[in-house]
């Protein structure tokens, strides 16, 4: 009897340990003492004439609704610093965003914190010449699927600078640049998000001097079908991307929820990517991967099969869907990876996803530093002009060619076919 109790107790202890060490999600609990200046600040956002600076004083301002601004020029919104001026949307009952800026030209927001919006904390859409500087966006408490999707979310913008910002707790991406042109993302910090920093369907993007850590996945350079703009010409350098291993807390059904934890950098279906002088370390799945959209489409396909009842009544149309977008190129190409430092303190791949298992069996249980899925369109061949992946001097690193399209038949660690240079 005592024995049984001991075993049971031991099992419980293990469970407790697992719960505390294994999968507990981090929390962010700044001290807050809220004041209500909602009407005045809202009025300022609505009635501000062009060429106005709205200066916000120190304080933790609580709002029950979104602050929105539309169609204005030369507006600056300025706080007293991200630790001093806090705009909180905790428990908001109207609007999904915290701050929503649309159709503005020459818009700057700086020196403040935006917290706990129901949806995105800061969304800027269809605007030009936008600067987001020294802005923190966060969701407080233990991070969870309840948190809003994006922290800093400029979409359909032109000439955009994001610098000195901090993004915490987004259930999609902390800093997300979508369908934008001429973008600089520098000197930012992103942690406790599903994706730290994401460039999606954007072109002319420079990402440098950022610290990206303790997210599910660090830096994503994505290009998705069926959007207004396709992503290419992305440069990332001098970034420190490490220890992005937290559980994925993205909303089921979103693309981001399919991203495995412990992925440092994912370059997906994007052309002309220059990735150099970065340090990427300590990820349980892999440090960097270069993949096609098919890797994600396939996963969604699998999910649809699990849901047989849905499958019976209609066809999950992900694949035909993206193939109908004839202007979309789902394969990466002209990707250059050089002069980076790859390290890993982990010595065993995670078994929480199929990539980990694959590396366990195929890669002598080594976590790869650079993975290339090797999926190509019909008629194309590896390293042809459109699908060139060049891996230069990156010190010592473990390379994996997955050959994902052929059941991993030609799985290989040989990097020599990829030693080349591209002028980008």
């Amino acid at each position: 009897m005592k024995k049984i109790i001991l075993i049971l107790g031991g099992a419980l202890l293990l469970l407790v340990l697992y719960k505390t060490v294994g999968s507990s999600l981090p929390e962010y609990n700044p001290e807050r003492s809220y004041v209500d200046l909602e009407t005045e600040i809202l009025e300022a956002f609505i009635l501000a004439k062009d060429s106005t600076t709205i200066e916000l004083s120190e304080g933790h301002f609580l709002f029950s609704q979104s602050l929105s601004m539309d169609g204005k020029k030369h507006i600056t919104i300025k706080g007293k610093g991200m630790d001093k001026t806090v705009l909180s949307f905790k428990g908001q009952t109207k609007g999904a965003e915290g701050i929503l800026i649309t159709n503005c030209n020459y818009f700057t927001i700086e020196d403040l914190t935006i917290e706990d919006a129901a949806g995105d904390n800061l969304k800027i859409s269809e605007s030009k010449n936008v600067t987001i500087r020294n802005v923190r966006t966060a969701w407080t408490g233990t991070i969870s699927t309840q948190n809003g999707a994006y922290g800093i979310y400029p979409v359909l913008t032109k000439n955009l600078l994001i610098e000195g910002c901090e993004a915490i707790g987004a259930s999609d991406a902390g800093i997300y640049v979508g369908q934008s042109k001429n973008v600089v993302v520098r000197n930012n910090r992103a942690f406790y998000n599903v994706a730290g920093i994401e460039s999606e369907n954007s072109t002319g993007v420079e990402i440098y001097e950022n610290d990206i850590y303790e997210n599910t996945s660090g830096l994503l350079i994505f290009n998705l079908p069926k959007l207004t703009l396709y992503g290419k010409n992305v440069t990332a350098y001098n970034n420190r991307i490490y220890n992005n291993n937290i559980e994925n807390f993205g909303v089921k059904g979103s693309i981001i929820s399919g991203v495995p934890k412990g992925t440092g950098v994912i370059i997906m279906a994007t052309q002309n990517v220059d990735f150099y002088n970065n340090t990427v370390e300590d990820h349980v799945t892999n440090n960097l991967s270069v993949v096609s959209y098919l890797v994600f489409a396939a996963e969604e396909e699998a999910e649809a099969i699990i849901n047989q009842s849905i499958q019976d009544r209609g066809i999950r149309a992900v694949e035909s869907d993206y193939e109908s977008d004839t202007a979309y190129n789902p394969y990466p190409g002209n990707v250059s990876i050089h002069s980076n430092v790859f390290k890993n303190k982990f010595w065993f791949p995670t078994l929480s996803n199929e990539y980990g298992w694959l590396m366990l069996f195929k890669n002598k249980a080594t976590i790869p530093d650079i993975v290339y899925d090797g999926i190509l369109p019909d008629g194309a061949s590896l390293q042809d002009d459109e699908h060139k992946i060049c891996i230069g001097d990156n010190g010592t690193f473990n390379f994996v060619f997955m050959d994902a399209a052929h059941d991993f038949d030609a799985f290989s660690n040989d990097v020599s076919p990829y030693t080349c240079t591209i002028a980008l």
Partner: protein, 367 residues
């Protein structure tokens, strides 16, 4: 004994760990009301401060009895706004006329004003008796563009005052079944007007279309059509013959086919955003009455940018299964990051949902 105690402690500890997870993040904390030391912006008001300044209505204002150049109009299927009643008027400047359009919104001259009053009868079974008017929204046509302004009624119902920032107001009524109801009614702020009234970068009216106006006129003595009435009154020109006029079905007319009613309901409640030029143009879901592409109508269509609005469901509409359809899920929800429409309602529209659930169920039978 000691082992059992350890076991017990472990059990309690594990329970605590697994139960603490989700404290509701959506509860608003307390905040102390403060005032700004100096104004945040310079603002000089050039708009009329009071609704009575326009002279749209005879006194007492609360009777909403129109003056000479103000005409009452009505729609086939209106937008649901937390069960509020609406009284709509158009003000036409001297000797101007409305130009009839078969498609889209009628053409109004500069100076025209669309006037929409939102009110709650105390008892819905006696709508003409005691009522509480909450707000009057104006769309003013100036320099070939529409400008929104909003006026909130005072407690005494003697005047409505210009408002930019919106307001939350608790209203009570007795519904058609005799049940007491209440809702925290949200008067929108000025920026929110554009959320529904957007057409590209401009603002547009939504209601005054031929399809919405093509109905029996409520003030006419006989069964006169509203369009004919306006034409005979001399305020509408270029009207086409009755057979050529489009007509939006009345959503709650039980004599009409369910799918027609449901499509009309979706047109009036969703299509102002869910069209190619509206706020929801990036959703791929387009719900205008004449939309024939079933995928664009949401049938077996996966969401594009719904985020957690998808509620872990896969398609906007699953024929035969309203309970698995994102469309129903979002129209039922009162969570601001999930609910549809995004603004303008804080309670679900039970009667509208019943109709849409029937429509989705019947979609499976039609296959």
């Amino acid at each position: 004994m000691t082992h059992q105690r350890i076991l017990l402690i472990c059990l309690i500890f594990t329970c605590c760990l697994s139960c603490q997870d989700e404290a509701d993040k959506r509860i608003a904390p307390k905040a102390k009301k403060i005032a700004s030391v100096k104004p945040l912006i310079q603002h000089k008001n050039t708009e009329k401060e009071k609704l009575s300044d326009y002279g749209f209505f005879k006194l007492p204002l609360a009777n909403l009895e129109p003056t000479d150049q103000v005409v009452l109009y009505d729609l086939n299927t209106p937008l649901f706004s937390d069960y509020a009643f609406k009284k709509r008027f158009v003000y036409l400047p001297d000797s101007t006329k409305i130009s009839y359009k078969n498609k889209g919104v009628m053409d109004f001259e500069n100076g025209s004003v669309l006037i929409k009053n939102f009110y709650y009868p105390k008892d819905f079974r006696k709508p003409e008796q005691e009522k509480r008017i909450i707000e009057t929204r104006l769309l003013i046509k100036e320099n070939d563009a529409w400008k929104p302004l909003n006026y909130i009624w005072n407690e005494e119902q003697t005047e409505a005052i210009l408002n930019y920032v919106g307001k939350q107001e608790l209203v009570h009524w007795i519904d058609n079944e005799g049940t007491e109801k209440s809702v925290s009614y949200a008067v929108p702020n000025l920026n929110q007007c554009k959320n529904c009234h957007a057409k590209g970068k401009n603002i547009t009216p939504i209601g005054p279309t031929a399809a919405q106006w093509n109905k029996t006129y409520s003030l006419a003595l006989s069964d006169k059509n509203q369009l004919d009435y306006f034409y005979e009154k001399g305020i509408l020109e270029e009207l086409v013959e009755p057979a050529l006029r489009p007509k939006l079905p009345v959503w709650n007319d039980a004599l009409l086919p369910v799918d027609h009613r449901a499509k009309a309901y979706l047109d009036a409640n969703c299509a102002h955003c869910h069209n190619l030029e509206g706020s929801a143009k990036n959703s791929g879901l387009y719900l205008s009455y004449n939309q024939t592409d079933s995928r664009k109508r949401g049938i077996y269509k996966p969401p594009i940018a719904a985020g957690k609005g998808s509620g872990d469901f896969i398609y906007d509409i699953v024929p035969g299964h309203p309970e698995e359809s994102i469309l129903i899920y979002r129209m039922k929800s009162n969570d601001p990051s999930i609910r549809m429409p995004e603004i303008g309602r804080s309670v679900a529209h039970t009667e509208g949902l019943n109709l849409l659930e029937r429509y989705i169920k019947e979609l499976a039978q039609n296959k």
